[in-house]
């Protein structure tokens, strides 16, 4: 089986399925990006949407396409390919399940998108009850989640086969990381699946009259925080296990990389209350407990930062760099596969610091639901994660399509990365500042009856439109690169880089592959953090809410 595990190329049959995911992901980027541009223009106050299009409809499309479709499709495609590369070609059965998953997700996306376009679901991507969308919207969302489970099942099957064929050996690092993320995703989506299947679908179909709002929100946020780690971990996979190979260095420590991923699995889920800190009906002691659990992810984050910079420094010194920061200069800045994800990595430093502020219990009141939060996740998700995904695209797409990343495209890719950085510095920076003044997120342009306070923050909205326009230019560049790599780049072989650990003799402890143990601890932590407050919420529930449609029809 070693021939399979050391296979350097992803099997074309697996490549086809991964590419199918990427086509959907980049269509979502194109449409979602256009919606983002429109939003920033509307908020500048200088532009109005034509033909009766509603701002919040545009906002719903942007959130659903960027937050749910682009990310889920890209991640599933990437992980499917990474497992095929490192644990061996998927079996026909696994591949079939993967294809079914892909189509179920795609059909679900089309269902949800249709309802949004018909103005039957202007509920944003968080669809908070008692705003009531058309039942087809909720069913479409269910399909996206179920499809992603099937996609995940395909990955787990191939991982399980590798384990069976290699008893007593730690699995390939990239496969292990992908499976951690898939497992976390499955455990997390149980929350959103529960609220949609048991609350929102029956309610939107008229089978029940009312919905318990706080139960629904709690189930949503049980899912909502691990959702952001589901986006982040594939970026970490690239930083830990792929970037070292790209720069010609080594992975600092294979075991510590695995340990940090396990810590992310344990501490990403029992923490949803930190999104509900200012909500009534939840005891502040339980909120604080989940805040403490939230902050535990700082530990693997510190480990990650250490490992990455250790890899960079060691590589630089091996090239003869001297002085405290001499190694920094010798990094391969002319290679887009490194530079673009590096911009993402560097952005994670302020992004992570902002996240600590947001989750800080009472300090959350200063920024909750202000546009600061939007600025925050446009640094984390829309810069750190997305630029890393772009960095992966530069080699993975040509690898799968049998083409080459040309010098011209590499150059364009680096320009794209910097354009993105500049655009985001304007947009996210202005959002952070405006948020501190109290400017709300998710709101169309408003002077609030010529309020002096609103007049103070409107200039920041103009800066956001400038940033949004630059970012849209970045999206156009990225689409040009993607289309080139998928269809037009010269034929050739592009490497799928997989890093090697510095110390090959040191085998990762087998306890890391003990899923009963880690899933057991995950379940215990979730039960510990949620059981009592959840029972409280149900027992002390007020009368349920009927549905409301507070937005206009066509």
């Amino acid at each position: 089986m070693s021939s399979q595990t050391t296979k350097l190329k992803v099997d074309p049959r697996d490549g086809k399925l991964a590419m199918a995911h990427f086509y959907v992901a980049f269509i979502a980027l194109a449409l979602g990006g256009l919606m983002g541009l429109l939003q920033t223009l509307v908020r500048s106050g200088k532009f109005e949407l034509p033909w009766g299009i509603d701002y919040y409809q545009v906002l719903t499309v942007h959130g659903v396409l960027m937050g749910l479709v682009l990310t889920t499709f890209f991640i599933m495609g990437f992980q499917y390919a990474a497992i095929s590369r490192t644990a061996g070609t998927h079996s026909p059965a696994a591949r079939r399940i993967g294809w079914i998953g892909f189509w179920v997700m795609t059909i679900g996306t089309i269902m949800a998108a249709t309802m949004v376009l018909l103005k039957e679901a202007s509920v944003l991507y968080t669809f908070y009850a008692p705003l009531k969308a058309h039942w087809i919207f909720y069913l479409g969302m269910t399909f996206v989640v179920v499809g992603s489970w099937l996609d995940g099942a395909a990955q787990i099957m191939t991982y399980a086969r590798w384990r069976k064929e290699n008893p007593g050996k730690p699995s390939p690092l990239l496969s292990f990381m992908a499976i951690i993320n898939t497992v976390m995703w499955i455990v997390a989506t149980l929350g959103v699946a529960s609220t949609v299947l048991f609350q929102l679908l029956p309610w939107s179909l008229g089978l029940v009259d009312t919905v318990d709002v706080l139960v629904s929100r709690t189930l949503f946020w049980y899912f909502g925080h691990p959702l952001v780690y589901f986006w982040l971990l594939p970026a970490y996979m690239c930083w830990y296990a792929i970037i070292p190979k790209i720069i010609g260095g080594k992975i600092f420590s294979d075991s510590l990389a695995r340990l940090s991923f396990i810590l992310f699995l344990l501490f990403s889920i029992p923490v949803g209350f930190h999104h509900q800190l200012t909500e009534p009906g939840i005891d502040p002691a339980w909120k604080f407990l989940q805040v403490v659990l939230t902050f535990m992810v700082i530990i693997p984050s510190l480990m990650t930062a250490f490992s990455l910079f250790a890899t960079f420094e060691r590589y630089g010194r091996s090239k003869g760099a001297t002085g405290l920061f001499g190694w920094f200069k010798v990094l391969p800045w002319k290679d887009a596969r490194f530079t673009v994800p590096f911009i993402g990595m560097a952005s994670f430093i302020p992004a992570g610091a902002g996240g600590i502020i947001n989750a800080s219990n009472q300090m959350n009141q200063v920024v909750h639901n202000t546009i600061w939060v939007t600025g925050h996740f446009h640094l984390t998700a829309a810069t750190s994660v997305v630029l890393t995904f772009f960095g992966i695209t530069f080699w993975l797409v040509p690898h799968l399509t049998g083409r080459k990343l040309t010098k011209a495209m590499n150059k364009l890719a680096i320009i794209q990365g910097w354009v993105w950085f500049i655009g985001m510095a304007f947009m996210s920076g202005a959002m952070h500042f405006q948020g501190l003044l109290g400017g709300p997120r998710r709101s169309a342009f408003s002077t609030y009856g010529d309020s002096a306070q609103a007049a103070e923050w409107i200039p920041y909205q103009i800066a956001q439109a400038v940033g949004g326009s630059i970012l849209f230019l970045g999206i156009i560049l990225m689409l040009i690169i993607f289309v080139n790599l998928a269809f037009f780049a010269p034929k050739g072989e592009e490497e799928f880089p997989v890093g090697e650990a510095e110390n090959l003799e040191e085998k990762a402890p087998m306890i890391f592959e003990n899923w009963k143990l880690w899933l057991g601890i995950t379940a215990l932590l979730i039960l510990f953090a949620y059981t009592i407050p959840f029972i409280d919420i149900i027992q002390n529930a007020p009368p349920g809410s009927p549905g409301f449609k507070t937005w206009g029809s066509w």
Partner: protein
């Protein structure tokens, strides 16, 4: 599993900082009373207008409590009742609010008054208005087409 000496130092420092940080947050919340708004009172969202204190929205003087006034708001798409209110400078005020329909986000811009309003629940926060001026109250949770028009005003006067 081997861990580099520098990484050990880094993690000990990091985890130490984390413990200090969480202790500060915890002491501030539970000893100094700066807990995030977490009122546990429930209400029938259909009967908000007839129930005290929401039958009398606005600023009401109270006696024998830790605060001097209660400032009562009823939120509904896309209005706050009252739309404007005057508060004496330096008054200690308990802001009490709820919603009659969907979820709203009650925020007084430029202050730390920021709390979610959810149907069936009352939310509240005690605060002192110690700076003169006009404050904008916005809705910071999406509630529908008119979300960005939903606002109110608090004038803090001498």
């Amino acid at each position: 599993m081997h861990m580099h000496k520098f990484e050990k130092i880094w993690l000990i420092f990091g985890i130490g900082a984390l413990v200090v940080f969480l202790s500060v947050v915890g002491v501030s919340a539970f000893y100094l009373g700066n807990k995030p708004p977490s009122c546990l009172t429930t209400i029938d969202p259909k009967k908000v207008d007839t129930q005290a204190p929401f039958d009398k929205p606005g600023l009401n003087k109270v006696e024998g409590k830790e605060w001097d006034y209660e400032l009562v708001y009823v939120a509904s798409a896309f209005f706050y009742n009252p739309g404007e209110v005057e508060v004496p400078l330096g008054a200690k005020v308990k802001v009490i609010a709820t919603t009659k329909d969907v979820v709203h986000g009650f925020q007084v811009a430029g202050t730390n008054i920021n709390m979610m309003l959810e149907p069936g629940y009352v939310n509240e926060i005690v605060t002192t208005f110690d700076k003169e001026g006009e404050y904008l109250v916005v809705c910071n949770e999406y509630c529908g087409t008119g979300h960005h028009l939903m606002s109110s005003k608090i004038k803090v006067v001498k």
